[in-house]
């Protein structure tokens, strides 16, 4: 009879709990984009700097904020896609153990679920970021 020796549980990866957080990273980016656009616009309009510095400068800053977020989220989505493709590639022959045989298909299934979820969420976050930010291009700032 054996007992788990890793009493701290610190030397091992913590499953895909963090993976879940990572999968939502694009949506955190969306929140960040919305908050920064709203905050930037408020600062521009409330402090009068939109007039003092000039609306094109502030608009440029807001567009840059929006574009930076969109690019970051797009990069996240691409990196998920790349790692998902890498998962699909034929694996090198693993050590054949009872444990590996038992855990293998299940682990693949679970990893596939989280990575597909991450891809979906990052794609959604990218579209959502593009959707909420495009009015910066066309509407007056402080009306």
């Amino acid at each position: 009879m054996s007992v788990a020796a890793d009493s701290h549980g610190a030397g091992r990866k913590q499953g895909r709990g963090r993976g879940l957080l990572w999968a939502s990273a694009g949506l955190f980016g969306w929140v960040s984009c919305l908050v920064l656009l709203y905050a930037g616009l408020s600062i521009a309009c409330r402090t009068g700097s939109a007039v003092a510095i000039g609306e094109p400068v502030w608009r440029g800053l807001l567009v840059a904020t929006w574009a930076a977020h969109a690019l970051l989220i797009a990069w996240l989505a691409m990196s998920v896609l790349r790692s998902k493709r890498a998962e699909r590639a034929p694996a090198t022959p693993a050590i054949d153990t009872i444990e590996a045989r038992d855990a293998g298909p299940r682990a693949d299934h679970d990893a596939g679920f989280v990575s597909r979820l991450a891809l979906l969420l990052n794609g959604v976050a990218l579209l959502a970021t593009l959707w909420i930010g495009f009015p910066v291009l066309v509407l007056p700032l402080c009306l």
Binding site: S2, A10, V136, L143
Partner: protein
């Protein structure tokens, strides 16, 4: 039966077929043993019960009682509005009615009833025996009950709040709402919110950790996904309201001007804080109900849900996007058009993930062979009413339309379509669906159908016409209207509809009563469901499962119909008789079993703690500040006693979860301990509160009229320097204590000398913790000095008030850190901490790490922003 399989080499590995394990010698003896360990006491002793089934049912029953009170208030409102120039009630009484109707329905019914369902169902659906913190559940329930009773007592005695359920300032300020009505709201709701946050920490940890072996994220029931997102939203969404309530109560009680324009405050800050909570709240209510729908529809369609992954993605997306909508409640307050468009776009966006779920439900029904049983009828009602409410929501998301319809009866109609459609109809379906689980009896199909049609017709008669009343210009929150307005027939029809609906609810209650008394026996799994809560006899036992299942799919009961019998025979995990309450914790992603969580038994401590909190809040309400301090000290004493009685003085030897397979208990190490996860999620809520406070500071700075203040923070290098050095020193000392205690962790097999060495390092750790406490006390004192010496008079300007609040926030953290470090130091010396039992130093270090960061941010913001200005 197959022969037992040999234990695998790695104790964390799952045997391929654990079902093959031999049944224990006597299943009957196992059940007797489990009943002795898990059983709920009767009579007065039942108040000490902490079991999730009992607590969940208490939440549900209490919330339904509050629902009845809210329903009676609704009938009174409709009676008043039935005719023009009605003298049935005066304006003050009417104001109390609609304020309390909204407050009761939102805070005392909707959230608690769903939390109750989650508490009752989740461990059963996840294949666990209880939630992660049973005593916290009980504490959460008592806080909710006492907070609710505070509000209802005010209603019964005629001093209820009357400023609307959103308590907008300045109407809710001391000047325009004298008396204790508004205080009752602020304190009672905060009390109930504390309960909700505790519940959220409980649910999120339980969902992530306490599942059946093999239940990976990909196999988790959809209801658990919905509740996971909901609980996370509660952690982020409720702190802004808790903060807003604290600020408003302080303004009312002590005159600190957070919302007073004349002294640099801004009433719109309240609206921001309220709706930062208020809009996610709509989804916090909707998502659990949608989770119930996603659980029931596949059962009645006879096939798995279509688009499981799409639904999960939609739910997570809604969880985020719902935080980006709060300003759409404020389109008429003078925000720049471009900002309104950001939030208008986000408001339209949220319809997409909602629609994905609706299409997935329809597709499931389309692809399956639906059976029109009673719960299904209510689900059809949900689809019709909720989709209608969603469409008017998209209308209101459009800024020009919102300007026209804002504060009219149209908005009242919309919110009822969304909330009743999105939450009440699914809830009624869920009551009929899961009541056999509680009573062991089936509902009557005929009486339930009558109830449905009366509720459905009555609801639509009331609220469909109300859209028109609103479009014709009738505002909200008016107790009389002129006969010349032309709204009489619409209002009368709405009132008749309201009473038809009420008759429907009375029939429903009658049906539930008859069902519980004389319904026919339900048998096991009466609806033919695939989820684990039906893999047990009904009514369910206190321990849920005699043995915990291994899960290999999303519908374990459809794949293994005999699973329930196997579990009852003790053939799965933890099927041996035990002397303490145990359940398995798993790896978050894969569902691999990792630890055995040892759960606490029944206790009076949660009730005592909630009662002490009740004393504290009640004294605050009546402005009895000295007794309030005593109440707080009492609360602290109970919590310390509660914490002291947890843990053990011996290292863990592991628990045999299957023949030949042992797992360590959660007390070995810290990462698998529910306490570690609980601290992290509590800190997440704390971060949300801190973020809201910083937002308030920056908002006032930027937006509020009457700035800059007459006087800035004075430069005081001594208290500032001492606070900084002391707090960083405390964090470092806590880190040293953690490192010292962990020093022996890598020793693979410890000799007697190693044990002695480890004990010495634990004692040394206690000294570092004592140093952390000492430094923390210095930091607390220095921060207090800073308030006294550097901050301008606190009632002079919002700047002084909000700056003081920031420092008070930092002080509270250093003070708690002192208590925590001192407590853990004593625990080290008392033998509760060892190299293996290392959770507590880890918690102290985590707390001090966060506290140091928060203090640095507070002091940085306070001292650097004026310089930037």
């Amino acid at each position: 039966m197959n022969a037992p399989r040999a234990a695998p080499a790695d104790p964390r590995a799952i045997p391929a077929d654990p079902h093959a394990a031999s049944a224990p010698p006597s299943a009957i003896a196992l059940h007797h043993r489990l009943r002795a360990v898990w059983g709920n006491p009767g009579g007065w002793e039942s108040l000490a019960t902490v079991n999730h089934s009992a607590i969940g049912l208490r939440f549900i029953v209490t919330a339904l009682l509050f629902f009845l009170i809210g329903g009676v208030l609704a009938m009174l409102i409709r009676t008043q509005l039935a005719t023009s120039d009605n003298a049935f009630a005066g304006h003050e009484t009417y104001n109390q009615w609609f304020t309390m109707h909204g407050t009761v329905m939102m805070f005392l019914f909707a959230i608690p009833v769903l939390e109750g369902f989650a508490m009752y169902l989740l461990p059963k659906m996840l294949g666990a025996r209880d939630l992660a913190y049973p005593r916290l559940s009980a504490f959460s329930y008592w806080c909710y009950l006492f907070g609710g009773l505070m509000l209802i007592t005010a209603l019964a005695t005629g001093v209820a709040p009357s400023g609307g359920w959103f308590m907008y300032t300045p109407l809710s300020g001391a000047r325009y709402s004298p008396g204790i009505g508004a205080d009752v709201w602020l304190i009672g709701v905060t009390f109930a919110e504390v309960s909700a946050v505790c519940g959220a920490v409980e649910l999120i940890t339980s969902i992530l950790r306490l599942r059946a072996p093999g239940m990976s994220l990909a196999r988790m029931p959809l209801f658990a996904w919905y509740m996971l997102v909901t609980a996370a939203m509660m952690l982020a969404g409720f702190p802004p309201l808790i903060l807003g309530s604290i600020l408003l109560e302080i303004e009312r009680a002590f005159g600190w001007p957070f919302f007073d324009v004349a002294r640099g405050g801004d009433p719109l800050l309240w609206q921001h804080l309220f709706w930062l909570f208020g809009h996610p709240e709509v989804y916090i209510i909707f998502l659990p109900a949608a989770g119930m729908v996603s659980t029931m529809i596949p059962v009645f369609a006879g096939r798995p849900i279509v688009g499981y992954r799409w639904i999960v993605a939609s739910v997570i997306t809604m969880g985020f996007i719902s935080f980006g909508l709060w300003v759409h409640h404020m389109f008429t307050v003078g925000i720049p058009h471009l900002a309104q468009v950001f939030f208008s776009a986000a408001s339209m966006l949220v319809a997409v993930p909602t629609a994905i779920q609706v299409f997935a439900w329809i597709a499931t029904l389309w692809a399956g062979r639906p059976v029109l049983r009673l719960p299904m009828l209510y689900l059809f009602g949900f689809l019709v009413v909720f989709v209608t409410g969603g469409l008017t929501g998209v209308m209101l998301a459009l800024v020009p339309f919102d300007w026209q319809a804002h504060d009219t009866q149209f908005v009242v109609a919309h919110l009822h379509y969304v909330l009743v459609g999105g939450m009440v109809f699914p809830l009624l379906a869920a009551i009929y669906y899961w009541l056999p689980h509680v009573t062991g009896r089936m509902p009557s199909e005929s009486l339930g159908k009558w109830a449905f049609w009366l509720i459905f017709v009555g609801f639509n008669l009331t609220f469909l016409l109300m859209h028109l009343t609103g479009l014709l210009g009738m505002p909200r929150r008016v107790h009389v209207y002129s006969p010349d307005a032309g709204w009489d027939w619409l209002n009368l029809s709405s009132s008749i509809g309201g009473f038809i609906q009420a008759i429907g609810f009375v029939l429903l209650l009658l049906d539930l009563y008859l069902h519980a008394r004389m319904g026919r026996g339900a048998g096991r799994n009466p609806w033919g469901a695939g989820t684990l809560e039906w893999a047990m006899p009904t009514p369910a036992s206190d321990y849920n499962f005699a043995s915990q299942p291994r899960v290999d799919s999303r519908q374990p009961l459809w794949d293994r119909p005999a699973l329930g019998a196997e579990l009852a025979a003790g053939r799965h995990y933890l099927g041996a008789p035990a002397t303490r309450r145990e359940t398995i914790s798993v790896d978050v992603g894969s569902g691999r079993p990792e630890r055995v969580v040892v759960l606490p038994g029944n206790s009076w401590l949660p009730l005592q703690a909630a009662a002490a909190a009740g004393v504290f809040f009640t004294c605050l309400l009546f402005k009895l500040y000295l007794p309030a301090l005593l109440g707080f000290a009492l609360l602290l004493a109970v919590i310390v006693r509660w914490a002291w009685r947890t843990g053990q003085r011996d290292d863990d030897q592991g628990v045999e979860v299957l023949p030949g397979l042992r797992l360590l208990s959660h007390r070995a190490g810290y990462r698998h301990a529910p306490g570690w996860a609980g601290m992290q999620f509590s800190l997440a809520a704390d971060v949300a509160l801190f973020g809201s406070l910083l937002f308030g500071y920056l908002y006032l700075w930027l937006i509020a009229p009457g700035w800059p203040p007459p006087q800035w923070l004075a430069w005081q290098p001594w208290p500032l320097g001492i606070a900084l050095v002391a707090v960083l020193g405390a964090a470092w000392a806590a880190g040293r204590a953690r490192a010292l205690n962990r020093a022996g962790a890598l020793v693979p097999s410890m000799s007697r000398a190693d044990h002695a060495s480890a004990a010495t390092s634990t004692i040394a750790a206690s000294r570092w913790l004592a140093l952390a406490a000492l430094l923390g006390a210095s930091a607390t004192a220095a921060l207090g000095w800073l308030i006294a010496a550097a901050v301008p008079p606190v009632t002079s300007h919002a700047y002084a008030a909000v700056s003081t609040m920031l420092i008070v926030y930092a002080m509270m953290h250093t003070a708690i850190g002192v208590l925590l470090a001192g407590f853990v130091a004593c625990r080290c010396r008392a033998g509760f901490v060892s190299v293996q039992r290392c959770l507590e130093p880890e918690l102290a270090r985590l707390w001090w790490g966060y506290t140091a960061l928060a203090v640095l941010i507070v002091l940085g913001v306070l001292h650097l922003l004026p310089v930037a200005q």
